[in-house]
Symmetry: C2
Subunit: 333 residues, 2 copies
């Protein structure tokens, strides 16, 4: 019951050629006569030969595997990106080693090193924050890295994002245009996150443009969970907020449900706009108006960009900004 052990050598002997020739056939090298190629292919098929990717990786120093660091596969925002990543990876014949990081720097550094020891050809990182420690480890690794849906304030690492600031500003504009002036901004931690920071800037810019005084009290830093969304409603109501711009869909759904449970009607008495347009936005009633970043595409483009870097192709730009849409639904007027 041992594992398959048909090697390139067996194929070579059986086909009466050298292993180099077999290797050429397997790697679709052009320099093989059509007849020998056919012969080799026939033997490969008959012996059910499957090239050993590990041996290949050792000899060629390319593993056709990329590491993907994800905070949590269970989060729809990230899993949507992951799906885009995997599809493009498959298209380019790469496999993906997925590793959950729980957004903990400690964990992330460990995961990164583990991925590097596996000799991945490249890495895609998803998260919200990149700490200096992680950043250094990435640079030192000399392995291509692309940040998917993640900002790097140093702008040294390749990344794919939307323009969070403008998007959030537009979202806030919509709320303002509907007559609100005591608008809550619901965000995750603002510590070290270029990400949430940009959104906050957008929120502030919109207020400023409309001549509304920015009030720190209207910025709520909470964990990005459904429960936290439910709970924050109490505070918003107490603070007489009549609308909210939310950075996370799960939080927004929690808010919608808490509001409904309290008998507050949306959008009549309270308007909400969220940021990721994940499936969830359409599963609630009312459906959520949302900034609509192209989630799948952010993943897909990240992976495509990574292939280019890995193959040392010319890349037009290091930081790609994808367009987003605004999806107007029933949580705003």
């Amino acid at each position: 019951m041992e594992k398959q052990t048909v090697t390139i050598y067996d194929v070579a002997r059986e086909a009466g050629v050298s292993m180099a020739t077999v290797s050429r056939v397997v790697n679709e090298n052009q320099n093989v006569k059509e007849t020998t190629k056919k012969k080799v292919l026939e033997v490969i098929d008959r012996l059910d030969y499957r090239p050993n990717a590990v041996a290949r990786g050792l000899a060629s120093k390319r593993t056709t595997t990329v590491g993907v660091i994800i905070p949590d596969v269970t989060n729809l925002y990230f899993s949507s990106l992951a799906r885009g990543i995997d599809d493009i990876a498959t298209m380019y014949k790469y496999n993906i080693i997925l590793a959950n990081s729980d957004q903990s720097t400690n964990q992330e550094v460990k995961v990164l090193n583990n991925l590097l020891s596996k000799q991945v050809d490249g890495i895609i990182y998803m998260g919200t924050t990149i700490t200096d420690e992680l950043y250094d480890a990435m640079l030192r690794s000399n392995t291509p890295v692309v940040l998917a849906g993640t900002m790097d304030s140093s702008h040294e690492i390749a990344s794919v994002n939307i323009d969070y600031k403008t998007a959030t500003q537009e979202a806030t504009d919509i709320i303002i245009a509907n007559g609100h002036n005591n608008i809550a901004f619901i965000t995750g931690t603002l510590k070290n996150t270029a990400f949430n920071d940009l959104r906050l800037q957008g929120y502030r810019a919109a207020l400023e443009k409309a001549g509304i005084t920015y009030n720190e009290k209207n910025v709520y830093e909470i964990p990005l969970t459904y429960k936290a969304g439910e709970h924050v409603i109490e505070k918003l109501l107490a603070a007489d907020n009549t609308a909210a711009v939310v950075v996370d869909d799960e939080v927004a759904v929690g808010m919608v449900n808490a509001l409904k449970d309290q008998g507050v009607s949306i959008p009549e008495d309270f308007e909400i706009i969220t940021s990721n347009n994940s499936k969830l936005t359409q599963l609630t009633r009312p459906c959520l108006t949302s900034i609509a970043p192209p989630l799948y595409d952010i993943g897909a483009v990240s992976m495509r960009l990574l292939t280019k870097i890995m193959l040392k192709e010319e890349i037009a730009q290091n930081e790609i900004t994808l367009p987003y849409r605004m999806e107007q639904r029933q949580s705003t007027k």
Copy 2:
């Protein structure tokens, strides 16, 4: 700018020992004097040596990597399992190569072969159906396989599941107890799926026990998507169904929303019970009553079982059946 090239040989030379000794230290082999071990460790740290897992894999024929075949990471049911899998894998120092299969047999076989060529030490398969073709490929591979949340009618492959039949029967019982007798059963395809088949058996058993005649027309085979859930409502209403047992949460949410949009109140005029207790069940209003399989645990236990098989440990049983709960919420009376 080449990748790191500190090898075991460099460490050996620098520490004044042989590579065999370094290898022993790295692999925590006991037969090394404490002092030399310390010396080697110091050099490893100083040189920032990181063992090359690929070379290791080639030499030892163990890659400490397992393949995970998943229909779609974006599906909360499967991503919850995946999370459990990854956590336990990490605990046992395995990495995970994740591959989306879209439930297409063609794709699955391709993915399986690809995984095998990468020399994974084991495979975890998620899906609903195992076709003969896939089944054969798995057996032939001589690589340990565990099915997570997936039934294999031949009972040859190790698997972790709940008792779908009894669970569905219980769910149907609840509906029946509430006075319904024209109950719809909403399922994915029944073709080749031990999975849905068991559920159907449970549904039928409950009806029979209650003396309700089974009516084929009440079984709706639809795609397991939100949209399909929305659409099926029209038919249910036309058929005067007053309750439904649903195998998929997304479908159930679609149904709830369609019913609400039609002004049908839940649970007063229509009761629904769903099967996976994913996050979604609590994000809707009303919240969904659901069979509650321990999603994370199914993944975790699958991975644990796989480690045992890979390490050739004694396993008590090949097919593990985990307990489930019933989560009574507002979509039933």
